[in-house]
Amino acid sequence: MEQSLAVIGSHLFLVFGLLALGGAATMVFARSAVHSVVGFLFCMLALASCYLCLGAEFLATAQILVYAGGIVVLFLFVVMIVELSKYKEQTRFQLHTPWAVGLVVAGAAAFIAVFWQTYFSPSAPQALTLDPTLAQGLDVANQNAQAISRGLYADFLLPFEILSVILLVALVGAVVLAKAERT
């Protein structure tokens, strides 16, 4: 029973992974902006399912809340407000594209080299582990929401609180910069 569940789980992971890839491809290649957004939504939902298959239920919920909820709505607003039809005729490759591609390839090569030397050369150290004290007394595999809450409210309390102030400042800033002209 256990074994067959695990097999189904890994198959499901593959299925959802392919669905996510399909969604991403739709997003990139769709002609209409609305189709792109729907593709994006599909991709995000499939990714959330992938997280569920991996047993990370908190990450899956956060993924749906943030991406499928917030970001997609934001995109739809932009699609509705901005008239996209006038950008259709633009050429896909611009003059600086080769430079950009070259830079990206060089940067990627440099970082792959760094990680290769660090983790795969003959005397590589043991694999990375998260701080074990963060998850003391918790079964991380089954209780990762609790483990995250412990990290947020115990070990990373100060950054968490600073983050709330940052969000408040962002709100104030948006109001300051966008408020109507005084007459």
Partner: protein, 487 residues
Amino acid sequence: MPFAQQLWQAMLRDLPLISGPLTLFFAATIMLWPGDLLLPSNKKHIWAPITLGVLAVSAALVANTANGSGFSSMFQVDGFTRGFQLLCTAAAFITVVLSQPQLNALQEQTVEYYALILFSLGGMQLLVGATDLVSVYFSVELMALCIYILVAYLRTQERSIEAGVKYFLLGAFSSGILLYGISLLFAAGGGVTTNLLQLNQKLALATHNNSLLVFAGVLMVLVGFAFKVAAVPFHMWSPDAYEGAPTPITAYLSMAPKAAALAAFLRVFGTGLASVHSDWSAPLGFIAAASMILGNVAALRQQSIKRMLAYSSIAHVGYMLLGVLSKDPLGGARAVWLYLLTYLLMQSGAFAVIIHLQGTGEGERLDDFRGLARRRPMLAFAMMVFMLSLAGIPPLLGFFSKFYLFMLAIQQGQYLLTTIALLTSAVAATYYLGVVNLMYFKEPTGVQLPRLGTALALTVGCTCGLVLVGTCFGPWLLDWAQTITWF
């Protein structure tokens, strides 16, 4: 003991450490709501005295906070923290005073302006005491976000918006680099800690394999911080932001965030990355030398005094990086603190003069200083004192701190960099003396200037007096610098 109870007790124990920033956050939030709602719209000018009061309370709390470390050793109060916190608070205080003429003239007396200054100061106060890369990063972001908005505050002026957008984009980019560097260092230390002291030990033991990872991480963190303090070659945003921002905010930019970012620079590199000093000493030396040379040479050609001061502040950062480079981090911190203290006095005085001239539509261009000595002899004299002090001419206060800093660099054996610093100081004297030349030996062109407002007169008078006689109090200043300690 239940988990929640443990949390509660740890929080009660640690909260007094951040009483200063907490006061700022609470006061700013209450000012925004419901304060602004309750205040009639013709009484908005009283936000300035209220803000000054909040700043004074926060400074008193900061000065009386006992030493200690808390929040899972993410924040630490020690002499270093207190010294830099007070420096930033003083800069914010002066900024609020300097803001009055312009805000009144533009009828922009709004509570958001003061709230953003308080929030940014809270970020700085947290930043200088941060002892963990995670809390360093978040405090930097809080500080920077407020400053982006303040730079773009005059949203009807294209220049101000352009400056804000430029600063925001480059700042966001540099934060990304900083964060990536932090994550690489976290991985290189074995992926168990971001605490500076522990990370220092882990990095010292990093295997040969990890050396490239450490180097990449250190370099990216260095780039991130160089962006924040506007050191060459990561200074591009600085002249535009200085020129486009409202002038009091320009003064603020050149004092407070710079002091806070340098403090974080000192603590991160002095305690967290001290064991890999050889990885960052050469790149940082290059950045320091480039800042001194490019900052001073570019300042020669500027026509706008705000741009000139922007380039000159790049050069001053170059000098202060000599302190960061020091192999004795605490000695470097003391020298940098002293330098920032004197820089604060000179810079706030000089900006007070510029703001006064700006009130009559002048002061932007260097030519506006033509013949100022005939029109306002006292003002011109004060400006001369500030310029000479910025140039480091003895016996003014600017010379004293510069001497202390350069002496430290020589003791550390940085002969080449100190030579560059001395030579570029001579170049700097050219453009500082150029302003004096304009004021004293050129024919006046402008109209008669109005009287100096009380607040500006007080700022100019106090800072000018302190810069003039400050060197006499040298021994006391040095004693004061000795209170800058960490443990």
